[in-house]
Subunit: 348 residues, 2 copies
Amino acid sequence: MRFDDRKKRILSAIVETYIRTGEPVGSKTLSEFPEISVSPATVRNEMAALFEMGLLEQPHTSAGRVPSHLGYRAYIDSLMRTKPLTEDEKDGIDALFNISDPDPDKLLADCAETLAEYTGCATVAMTTTPSYVTVEHIDIVPADATTVVLLVIASNGVVKSKVCRLGFRVNTGIADFFRKFAKDRFCGHTLKEISAEFVNAVSIQLGEYSGVFNPLIVGIYELCKEVYDGQYYLGGQEKLLTYNEYSDRALEIMKLISKREKLGPVIGNNPSGVTVFIGKENSLSQLSGSSLLVARFSIGENDCGTIGLIGPVRMDYSRLIPHLEYFAEKLGTLLSITYQRKTGDDNG
Amino acid sequence: MRFDDRKKRILSAIVETYIRTGEPVGSKTLSEFPEISVSPATVRNEMAALFEMGLLEQPHTSAGRVPSHLGYRAYIDSLMRTKPLTEDEKDGIDALFNISDPDPDKLLADCAETLAEYTGCATVAMTTTPSYVTVEHIDIVPADATTVVLLVIASNGVVKSKVCRLGFRVNTGIADFFRKFAKDRFCGHTLKEISAEFVNAVSIQLGEYSGVFNPLIVGIYELCKEVYDGQYYLGGQEKLLTYNEYSDRALEIMKLISKREKLGPVIGNNPSGVTVFIGKENSLSQLSGSSLLVARFSIGENDCGTIGLIGPVRMDYSRLIPHLEYFAEKLGTLLSITYQRKTGDDNG
DNA sequence: TGTTGGCACTCATAAGAGTTGAGTGCTAAG
DNA sequence: CTTAGCACTCAACTCTTATGAGTGCCAACA
């Protein structure tokens, strides 16, 4: 059986109409489409053929047809016309970003929230740190009699700080001693290496002082871990409630996606560009009724994270794919500006 | 009509049974309670009286009775026997806290999440900063050629730091100059004073350098604002979905409570101890079907925030009130340890 | 050979009728 | 004051019937 042009037009019309209305599409409706214009009976013959080919499904005998996962796949891979963003839309998105906090931690959280607002889907934003990234610099700054600020700078330019309260007074001697000790032990090591065991070993080297300095060592460990683990933000989880596809499963899905260890592996290892998982195509059984759109973003050449959309299989791919693409690109650009480390020139 | 002892027992039984089952309570059920043991007809007479007094409602003629808001109020204020936490329960909660991050920012977020898990309600945790709190100390630490860490210490002991990336190289001279400038201008002022206008005025004093140093000034402003605004964390919003009371309003409620400017004023000005808002008693019309339990927590003598539960009016007050009380107390204790500033003695 | 009108068939959905049962209010007797 | 008895109410359930959107298949037509 040939997948000829008319079959393609009919499949496209079914997918697009179903996405729009959520109702199974019947032969009469389709026959009235200008790009089809044949009688309902003919459409029925074609639909029977598309059903044979596994591209359509039928909820029950006397209902219209609905795209199968294979049907969506064929539509997305070769039939769909994506609608590129208009300049106005781009400007709208840019404006949303301009007001957001330039702090990279918050940037990602804001991006997840904004993307959710813009697309009506639940979103996820995640960063990953390459395993070759090392600790470049460690500092300890006394803030107050018994409080210090710990500072870790990684070789990829990420800087994290943490307030650390101690049970004793910190004078410059103590600070200098610990600063040197920490630099010697941590700098140059990859973040990946700095495990709980590594930290234990370091702590032991402090001998009788290990108990005293332990909060600081742990603080450094936590900062390193924070940098290495990267971030994981969700946005607009409540959007799932607006789709009746999720009527009673919404809670389960919300719990699932809130766990990085579950969703991370699925969305974290994809090629650049937008990857689409339709229904069962992803490996999480609970998400078999959902589609995932994921896009990687990068700082310059360095791939550094993923943003994704989670919604019902019946989502408007042709609109959402270009949007997600633009968000990922924009996010990369903004992060690049933040992490531009070698600007060099003095302005003041 | 006297609100005699038997009426009280009947009202208590109705409230408790309705909270447990969610179904209107009938005279036959009640007559079988050992503490009532009169015939259904007698119970009906009493119920008619309680209805007259406005303490009960009837969903429809042939249904049992349900407590009115006034009925809940009477129950909570004078009839309810709260169930104090067992030592085991306390230990369980303590254990949950012990594993949590001692960083006060995270402590509050964890507390909200844990409390939600423990109670099955949506939760909110919020800190407030008294208006007399001032900026005590400001520092700027060069981290990297073009990156510095800003540090603000407030007089209530809160320390916040922020990584700030600049478009120019920072040498010690620049850092020293700016440190002195910022200390002179900000230290001693209350956080409340440090508004956008205040910051503009400060910026102008930098004259031709104001453009260059602006990111730093803004950074300080943001840190001060962050300290002054305090925190606002939600936990277990998805718990609302498990109550059929919220079948389709859950989304609306979730959106509402996510806005501090909406919920903050309602829960922020209550006396110490646990305050209960039953249904319409709070000023937000969207929350008329919900009850709020709020408790203040404090560091030593200083009141510093609120934690609260949001759930259906039909919630188990006798269990939840002591739990919330204990969480608030625990939170205060843990924060006190973190913010214990004058420990003084050297341990090392 | 592809297209179309006609027709019998299917089946989800909605509407109506009847039944059930939990619960009430009222009354009169204990 | 308490209680048994009784008629009444009404949501919820079941059963039946009607409706209509949509199908598959066949025969006729271009």
